[in-house]
């Protein structure tokens, strides 16, 4: 008898294949497969499987079996309302790794946040990450540092201190005036090589998602994209990087165990903004850029500022979003009227975009924009998971749908089960009445 794979549960992550001391496991067509001739029933794969897809055959009792059974029981009873980081930590406690990291071990220290400065503005996610970075640095017991790459950076340096950086690494050079992958990757990689941070974070923005893969490739280390939860395992001190996977249908916690630095991009507007303390000071470390303009093979020709709807969707405070339930492009007018009275922005689901009612840059969700407005009003949206992952962190959600079982009601603070063509104009009137009479404080 050998280890049993539950194919319905196996996610094909391969953790068991790496763990198996006798190379009895392999991935075949994305699923773990056991070679019964090699398997010794040692149970080590059972312990590492994140999906609880492996079990030892009946009667093959060992200490590993008992541990894993206990762990399995725990995971099976996984409670959706349980706070994430704790449950994430629970698992990692049982899967400690003995091997040291490839390069240097203890040399790698410090949490770094790459501060995105573009067109004279800092992307707010940079400050959000200094807030989150503070927690991580405290959990490890190391420094929190900011990295600013660009041109004319002095005003940004003091801001980085105000938002909590203890040290700021600066590469200030005319070649870095506009963002381009080559010189930015060069500057960041050189800093990493020289100062060896343990963790390097950046926003999952167009810039972060462009330059970080280049940096991670140069460093030959792991990079986790689009994280929504970060925490430090209390025992291993490894960074636990949690992100949506399979189109947001599951959450996956990812680690980079043996290589450094541990790198992650983090979704904007997921982490809380830290307090800004004017006048805070810290150490400034300046480095030269190791590449000249002649060596850069990309040039920025011009910049065309976007129109309001594409710029503001992820920054909008009030969003009125439509799904296929709105019925037609013309019917969007009633949503527009509600948006107008609230000063909101119109957005929609992938379905509404694919129907040609809205443009692609108005799409909220997995393949569109992630939004976190103060108020999200969902009209005729069923609430597919791909849509929910893009809006469920909104502060307050109102949903109107005629299907009482629509998934959107699971995330809505208030859901009105009804005909949106009657309810929405009524809401518009109500808001108009109150706002005109100055009821709003």
């Amino acid at each position: 008898m050998s280890v049993v794979v539950d194919k319905a549960k196996c996610i094909g992550c391969g953790a068991c294949v790496v763990e198996c001391p006798v190379e009895a496991l392999d991935l075949v067509d994305g699923l773990a497969t056991v070679d019964p001739n090699k398997c010794t029933n040692c149970g080590s794969c059972v312990t590492v499987c994140p999906a609880n897809a492996l079990s030892l055959p009946e009667g093959a009792g060992s200490s590993a079996t008992k541990n894993s059974d206990a762990e399995k029981g725990e995971a099976k009873e996984f409670n959706k309302s349980e706070p994430l980081p704790d449950s994430v930590k629970d698992y990692a406690k049982t899967s400690k790794k003995k091997e040291p990291v490839v390069a240097g071990g203890d040399v790698w220290s410090g949490v770094w946040v790459i501060i995105e400065y573009k067109h004279g503005e800092v992307a707010p996610v940079s400050w959000e990450l200094l807030g989150e970075g503070r927690k991580l640095a405290d959990a490890i017991g190391c420094d929190l540092c900011g990295v600013i790459v660009g041109q004319d950076l002095d005003p940004v340096i003091s801001e980085a201190f105000a938002y909590g950086a203890e040290k700021v690494y600066v590469v200030d050079d005319p070649v870095l005036k506009y963002f381009r992958t080559e010189p930015y990757a060069e500057a960041i990689t050189d800093l990493i090589r020289k100062y060896q941070p343990e963790i390097v974070l950046m926003g999952a923005t167009a810039m972060g998602r462009d330059v970080f893969p280049a940096v991670a490739t140069r460093m030959q280390t792991g990079l986790t994209a689009d994280c929504t939860v970060l925490s430090i395992d209390p025992e291993t001190k490894l960074l636990l990087q949690t992100r949506p996977a399979f189109g947001g249908n599951i959450m996956a916690t990812i680690q980079c165990k043996k290589r450094r630095p541990q790198m992650a991009t983090v979704r904007p507007r997921v982490m809380a903004m830290p307090e800004r303390v004017e006048g805070r000071q810290g150490e400034i470390i300046r480095e030269e850029l190791g590449i000249s303009e002649d060596e850069v093979r990309t040039k920025v020709v011009e910049f065309i500022k976007g129109d309001a709807k594409s710029i503001f969707l992820d920054k909008a405070e009030i969003i009125v979003a439509v799904g296929l339930g709105i019925g037609s492009k013309k019917n969007i007018e009633i949503a527009q009227e509600l948006a107008d009275v609230l000063g909101g922005t119109i957005a929609g689901t992938r379905g509404a975009v694919e129907a040609g009612w809205l443009s692609h840059d108005q799409q909220v969700g997995q393949t569109g924009v992630t939004v976190r407005p103060k108020v999200y009003i969902a009209l005729g949206i069923s609430g597919a998971i791909q849509h929910l992952v893009g809006m469920e962190t909104s502060d307050f959600i109102i949903a109107v749908n005629n299907d009482p079982d629509a998934g959107i009601f699971r995330v809505a603070n208030y859901g009105i089960v009804g005909d949106l063509f009657q309810v929405v104009p009524a809401m518009t009137q109500e808001f108009k009445k109150r706002l005109q009479h100055g009821v709003a404080k």
Binding site: A8, I11, G12, C13, G14, L27, V48, P50, A51, S81, S87, Y91, A92, E121, T181, A206, M207, R209, D210, P213, T217, L223, D226, P244, A245, F246, G247, N249, I250, M251, A252, I254, C256, K257, R297, T298, K299, F303, I304, G306, I311, G344, Q386, F396, R410, V411, N413, Y414, G415, I416, V417, G418, D419, Q422, V423, V424, F431, V439, A440, K441
Partner: protein, 277 residues
């Protein structure tokens, strides 16, 4: 010009569901499709070939079934398709995947130099957007990501419009270069009948790990620095009050609006600020 497109066969994630009883992914019967962003990358390569002449080569890493995606891609007018398939590649993260693809591209490049590599901005099953830039780094090509328009291709430079948060950036890169693309880049074509017939007979080249000079420590799970340690369902947000608006839509609307004011949800009214948008 030699255009090379990296293409991935993916499950149609909009069809993937979680089994509520077991909390596991229900993958049975989920159709496989060409990653939508890659389809637009392919479309652009074919358009450029039609404009300036040359050929289009497609490379994909995947299980043997991914052959179907390559045949489909051929029906749109590509000239050559290579499937990298080997159990040694299985479990590769984005770093290892970029390595697998790069070594294969280098082999193609040796005998038939590549001018422009296209990839989708990301694959819809992983959404990492890391493989394209990873390949560019390893090849030593400059990269332009999130292209929404190819403006110009001449004199050894390619000029594109890139999508960024603040607007469109027009940027150019010296060839050979790598471009990752958005869906807005172009409209997909339908396969022509002659191309469909050609594709039906076409068999993609099948390259295994041993046919290329791989450092095996960089492949698959062993070559992947990241590993998944846990999966779980997304945290459910608990639903709030459900109000019946069937019988009395006016009343339901008024009640919700009332509550929003009571709870100061609508407090700093945008109109008071002069309207932001």
């Amino acid at each position: 010009m030699h255009f090379l497109v990296c293409l991935k066969q993916v499950p149609d994630t909009s069809e993937v569901r979680i089994d509520p009883a077991t909390n596991t992914l229900m993958r049975e019967g989920v159709p496989s499709i060409i990653n939508p962003y890659d389809a637009h990358a392919l479309e652009e390569a074919i358009r450029l070939k039609e404009k300036v002449g040359g050929k289009v080569t497609i490379i994909s890493m995947g299980p043997p079934q991914a052959k179907e995606a390559l045949k489909k891609a051929m029906s749109f007018g590509a000239d050559r398709a290579i499937l990298l398939s080997d159990r040694a590649f299985a479990g590769s993260d984005s770093l290892a995947t970029a390595y697998v693809l790069t070594v294969a591209i280098q082999k193609v490049h040796e005998s038939d130099p590549v001018d422009l590599v296209f990839t989708g901005k990301e694959a819809i099953d992983g959404d990492t957007a890391q493989t394209g830039p990873g390949i560019a780094q390893r090849l030593g090509f400059p990269q332009l990501t999130y292209a929404i328009k190819v403006r110009d291709l001449n004199d050894g430079w390619v000029t594109v419009e890139r999508k960024t948060e603040a607007g469109r950036e027009v940027a150019k890169a010296m060839l050979p270069a790598l471009i990752t693309v958005e869906k807005e880049l172009n409209e997909l074509r339908y396969a022509s009948l002659p191309n469909m017939m050609k594709a039906a007979k076409y068999e993609p080249e099948y390259w295994e790990a041993k046919s290329l000079p791989y450092d095996t420590t960089q492949l698959g799970l062993k070559g992947s620095p990241t590993s998944v340690v846990r999966i779980f369902p997304p945290p459910a947000r608990s639903g709030g009050d459900k109000i019946d608006g069937m019988k009395d839509p006016q009343g339901a609307a008024a009640m919700v609006v009332e509550k929003m004011f009571q709870q100061n949800i609508i407090m700093t009214h945008p109109l008071a600020k002069g309207g932001k948008h």
